[in-house]
């Protein structure tokens, strides 16, 4: 089974930043649920991973040699579903069933549901250990596939993240990349006020990881960081992606409220106008 890259042009990636945000907004509006700020924070990371970096075949979602991505910050799963549908793992129309009774699209991702979901996540601090196990298996089996784990900043309060960071370095899992969606807002406050992570890059470096900091919404910067993550090394790579919670809709940006609120009809209309296809202000 040949895995294949699914590269999109810069213009296509930019268009996806709008169209997938509209998908997410529609899902949140229709289901009357929150976590839209988190999904808007992480969506550009996922777009660039799935359409510029990872190898996979949506027709064979369990092919052993595929690259794997775990969305450990499972509450942002609307973004993952939008990307997996765009990538062809399941029909885009199914996004309409998000959170409906009996749907495959739950409020946190469940293994294989929808296809392309690599792990059940939702309790923070689990994904990096699972990704470490996947990268370890690839190393033992001499497969060269990549493993990417996307975690949140607040998730780094969990001790298990750092347990995984220690072992991934110990086992020299250079095929493992951890992307931290660093929007600096966690569920009940700003990270600097709740549990300050700074000096954040130094923490990862001191655990023996390669570290890159990047703009988490800029496609060129993200693609460049992802490309550097696969350069020969004996260290895993941490990409600290500086992001804005709620990015793309002015009244959602950088607020705690939109971790929880669901968009009203009026919010929906306003946000849709802002997410109409014109160049994204960087």
């Amino acid at each position: 089974m040949p895995s294949s890259l699914h590269p999109r042009s810069a213009k296509e990636l930019c268009n996806l930043q709008y169209s997938l945000r509209r998908d997410i907004l529609t899902m949140a509006h229709r289901s009357k649920t929150g976590h839209i700020g988190s999904a808007f924070s992480v969506i550009d990371i996922l777009i660039n991973a799935y359409f510029g970096h990872l190898k996979y075949d949506p027709k064979h979602p369990l092919a052993p040699d595929r690259d794997r991505l775990i969305l450990s910050k499972g509450h942002a799963c609307a973004a993952l579903y939008a990307v997996l549908a765009e990538a062809g793992f399941f029909p885009k129309q199914e996004l309409e069933t998000y959170l409906q009774d009996g749907s495959r699209l739950a409020g946190h991702p469940h293994l294989g549901s929808p296809p392309g979901t690599e792990a059940s996540t939702g309790s923070l601090g689990h994904g990096l250990s699972i990704g470490t196990g996947m990268a370890l298996a690839a190393k033992l089996d001499e497969r060269d596939n990549k493993t990417v784990v996307v975690i949140s900043d607040g998730e780094c309060d969990e001790g298990a993240v750092w347990e995984a960071a220690l072992t991934a370095r110990q086992w020299k899992l250079s095929s493992l990349t951890c992307i931290i969606d660093y929007n600096k807002i966690q569920a009940f406050g700003r990270t600097e006020d709740v549990v300050n992570l700074e000096p954040f890059a130094d923490k990862w470096r001191s655990f023996g990881w390669r570290v890159l900091e990047t703009d988490g919404h800029d496609c060129t910067a993200l693609l460049s960081a992802l490309k550097q993550s696969i350069e020969p090394s004996d260290q895993p790579m941490a990409i600290i992606a500086h992001t804005i919670k709620g990015k793309g809709v002015s009244f959602m940006e950088n607020t705690i409220d939109w971790h929880y609120w669901s968009p009203s009809d009026e919010h929906f209309k306003k946000a849709m106008i802002e997410l109409s296809p014109s160049p994204m202000p960087q």
Binding site: L111, S120, G122, G133, L140, A164
Partner: protein, 308 residues
């Protein structure tokens, strides 16, 4: 039991290069031979059990069959959410092996004792829970868990437990099927794990008092052998359970549920360790004695109950 465990696991590892053993920095004098023979199939994950379970899940999601090993409390309670979410919800072939069931680590104190694990593990979705009673049952359980399509929990004692089965007379070991150790018409004793030997000794003491006991090894707590229990309770004066485990969630609870659901007309005497114990250190046998888990104390309780 742990020697038998690792020897049996080596047999599986030899046949299956996809089998991986993870340890949470334990196994001194136990795993050296395994490590020498299968250097790529044993990984010391360090003293980090939450990560160990997550890594096991990642390995299993990539086609590996994983055994994870540590002392019971560390490999169950410390990482319980990882067990539930990463192993059970994802239905992965990972076997958790806990050494030191009950008061096995007597001197080391309460942190190292395991009196809640069977209850906690039984509540985990899709989990098979096995508590073997002697080295033969350990061997058979490891072989069976080695082909299980889902998560398992194997509760071991420590070391030098006696062989209680006579292999020549045993036909087969099936997960979820209890084994009759001896027959007797008056009472039935259901025992699990490290209490199987004590149950047989208690039965011998009862026999000297003209009470004939059936003794059954309930090596699998989940799924429980409902048919075997029904047959064992049939026409008996008293049904007794014995386990080196606290009063909640273990064998006594599993059996009392069957009694209630089936409306069995049988008297029931659950013998367990107490919820907590007023001893901070002592040998394994000292803790058992204080907990009332000796053949003498158990047989005395059964006799007393029969007088009522």
């Amino acid at each position: 039991m742990r020697t038998t465990f690792v020897r049996t696991l080596a047999r599986l590892a030899e046949k299956d290069p996809n089998l991986i053993l993870l340890t949470g920095d334990l196994g001194f004098t136990v795993f050296e031979d395994f490590r020498a023979r299968f250097p790529n199939q044993l990984l010391n994950v360090g003293i980090a059990e939450q990560n160990m379970i997550g890594v096991a899940a990642g390995l299993a999601l990539s086609g590996k069959r994983v055994f994870v090993y540590s002392i019971v409390p560390f490999v169950t309670f410390r990482c319980l959410e990882q067990i539930r979410n990463d192993l059970c919800h994802q239905h992965l072939p990972v076997c958790i092996v806990g050494v030191g069931g009950g008061y096995s680590y007597g001197h080391l104190g309460a942190t190292h004792h395991a009196l809640e694990d069977l209850g906690v593990m039984r509540t985990m979705p899709n989990m098979t829970v096995v508590s073997p009673g002697d080295p033969w049952e350990v061997e058979q359980a490891v072989l069976a868990l080695g082909t299980l399509n889902g998560p398992g929990y194997l509760r071991l004692g420590k070391n030098k437990e006696p062989l209680l089965h006579q292999p020549a007379t045993i036909s087969e070991f099936v997960l979820g099927k209890s084994i009759v150790m001896r027959g007797g018409d008056d009472v039935t004793i259901l025992a699990t794990g490290t209490m199987l030997e004590t149950a047989l000794l208690a039965a011998a003491l009862l026999e000297s008092k003209k009470i004939q006991s059936t003794v059954i090894s309930v090596h699998t707590l989940k799924p429980i052998d409902r048919q075997g229990i029904l047959a064992a309770a049939d026409n008996k004066k008293l049904l007794i359970t014995i386990e080196e485990h606290g009063p909640f969630g273990g064998l006594a609870d599993a059996i009392s549920r069957i009694i209630a659901e089936e409306g069995l007309p049988v008297q029931f005497l659950p013998i367990t360790a107490p919820e907590s114990i007023d001893v901070v250190t002592g040998s394994h046998s000292h803790f058992r004695s204080v907990a009332g888990l000796t053949a003498e104390k158990i047989s005395a309780r059964i006799l007393e109950r029969l007088k009522k």
